[in-house]
Symmetry: C2
Subunit: 362 residues, 2 copies
């Protein structure tokens, strides 16, 4: 039996109800049902409607299930960019999206801020030729975040035809997006939705689908089974083109129902309270301090701190108390720690983590 | 509690040990561990070595995990075909692979046999310009199968540089391939491996990887995170580029260990004995008869029969006994039934199905 509580930035702690939903799934043999059956269609519709409710998603947005957020980067470029995409980069994941565009033969340009720094949106000029503007609401590698108000300014800054894409992989449902100001938002279920990994979710509006259709009409390829028009068509039948991760779609619907019972306002409030508790501790700690200097740009869900004690040693000490946090990303592996603050992490668990960190390291 | 036994052709009955392995996964919190941790690398290595043992896979083959077999079609074309692929088509899935190649802008040619008929391999000429030859060892939609000895003849028939790809989505580990005669084989875990859906497995040799590298060296795109060289590099580190379906990779390793304890010879023997039992019944039935005429081309793992009683009515009657089989595919939905004969289906369960079918319908 593993009693550890995982504050790793995804995969992370499972939402508290997941083991019981998994047991129900086994009892009901959800792993054996056909992905073309009415039972599956109901499961699919339940997950989509749960998400629509939680995020107050308008009707011109579709909810699509893919293998991972990494896949969504590729499908985004394939389906909506003929020539050129423009990327805000301030960490490893926003940089990876930029690289994906280049690997797919597009011209990709970027506006880069140093790792761990937010953006001065005022000073950013979006190229007139950009077809897709890749924003990073929450950079999982560096713990930087872009306030929704700043995201909303890009609708005016970008060319009228450009599509605004937002990476909220490890933050949704915390940010309350204005869905009239963005065209696509995507996330992974193993972050704030507390599920096992293996599903990326793409919220995409009619403008994105129209762009894919226009590219296809010109005779260019937009991929095969995961083309945007194809996925939307299947989604409206509450199905996917391929046999999907049925179990995870089932679990997502169940967790969304649990979250909706709690209410997104309460989830957001708890997230902010827990984040404040951690950042307040970081301020008084002798060993850790917040890696992101500007409080406006600090993530509420993936909190990154510089550490003078190597991250591996921090985890070694925490393991005695059945606690685990994330090491830094890439070259910051030992010099930073990352603390996931997801809905699955209860206020009590977060309090215990902070207490133990203070007790052990000051 | 759902006590139904699923003879549907995938998703299907879970391997008997899956619920217990899932319980262990929950107890050990496998859903929370990092996909970059040593614990994950060990899980990955365990699944790969289990598969290598079961299939006696030579060292020049890599084992890659993707989202689905549908994804593998796309990655195969993207990574190994500059211009032209050649497809044997005799059902809906082999046809879909052919269509994927066209959707990706390649020239795809096909040799087509009617739905439900095998191929006269002698009469097939592989175009000199074909870079990939898509064979269908087991057509899940129509229940046709190609004997391994016939597959092996394509190495001589095809151009020396052509890569031989084999669809064994719903048959492995039953066919005992000669891995010197083929370059890639792929399958889905929700078929003969008795797992929840959400993972496609691609067995791919050094010739395929070299082809992808050559295309890339010419400056053409072979995709992004799921390029063959990229996937192979990650696989050698016992990792994937994206956060994968960790739980399913864990379960696959566990089921493979169970299968190896039983031995592939015994699994194959049981598969053939159960298949013989079903086909013998179909021969004497007044309502059903085997849809594939030539016994050499009948699938051992996905048995398709014409039915004079609509498939939905057959299932309605069987439901009283907690049994379910597959309806026909596409336009054969009511006029055919499909019976999965996977390792998860015990001889006793298959005997009960045959007995009830005979009792109910003669």
């Amino acid at each position: 039996m593993n009693n550890k509580v995982y504050f790793t930035p995804g995969p992370s702690e499972l939402y508290a109800t997941v083991p019981q939903h998994m047991q129900t799934a086994l009892d009901e043999k959800i792993g054996s049902i056909s992905h073309r059956s009415q039972q599956f269609k109901d499961i699919y519709a339940h997950a989509v409607s749960g998400l629509r409710q939680l995020l107050q998603l308008p009707d011109n947005f579709e909810v699509l299930f893919l293998g991972s957020a990494t896949e969504i980067w590729e499908r985004a470029i394939q389906n909506t960019v003929r020539q050129e995409s423009f990327h805000l980069v301030n960490g490893s994941f926003s940089k990876r999206f930029y690289e994906v565009a280049k690997e797919l033969g597009r011209t990709a340009t970027k506006y880069e801020a140093p790792f761990g720094e937010g953006f001065d949106v005022q000073s950013i000029t979006v190229p007139e030729t950009a077809e897709l503007v890749a924003l990073i609401q929450n950079e999982t590698s560096s713990g930087t975040s872009m306030p929704v108000a700043e995201i909303n300014r890009f609708r005016e800054k970008a060319p009228a035809d450009a599509l605004i894409f937002v990476d909220a992989v490890s933050s949704l449902p915390h940010p309350a997006f204005d869905f009239t100001k963005v065209d696509a938002v995507y996330f992974s279920v193993q972050k704030c939705f507390g599920l096992p990994a293996g599903l990326g979710v793409w919220l995409v509006n009619d403008r994105c689908v129209a762009k894919a259709e226009a590219i296809l009409a010109d005779g260019d390829s937009i991929g095969s089974y995961h083309s945007l028009p194809g996925m939307v068509q299947k989604s409206r039948e509450n199905q996917t083109a391929e046999t999907p991760n049925v179990l995870n779609i089932y679990l997502l619907g169940k967790v969304l129902a649990d979250m909706n019972r709690k209410g997104v306002a309460q989830i957001r409030k708890e997230t902010e309270e827990k984040a404040a508790q951690v950042y307040t501790y970081l301020q008084r700690s002798k060993v850790f301090d917040a890696a992101v200097q500007n409080p406006q740009h600090r993530s509420a869900t993936t909190i990154v701190a510089n550490t003078t004690v190597p991250a591996s040693e921090v985890n070694k000490q925490l393991a005695k108390y059945d606690l685990a946090l994330g090491s830094g990303y890439g070259k910051y592996k030992e010099s930073q720690i990352r603390i996931a603050n997801f809905p699955a992490h209860s206020p009590e668990q977060m309090q215990k983590l902070v207490e133990k960190l203070e007790e052990l390291f000051g």
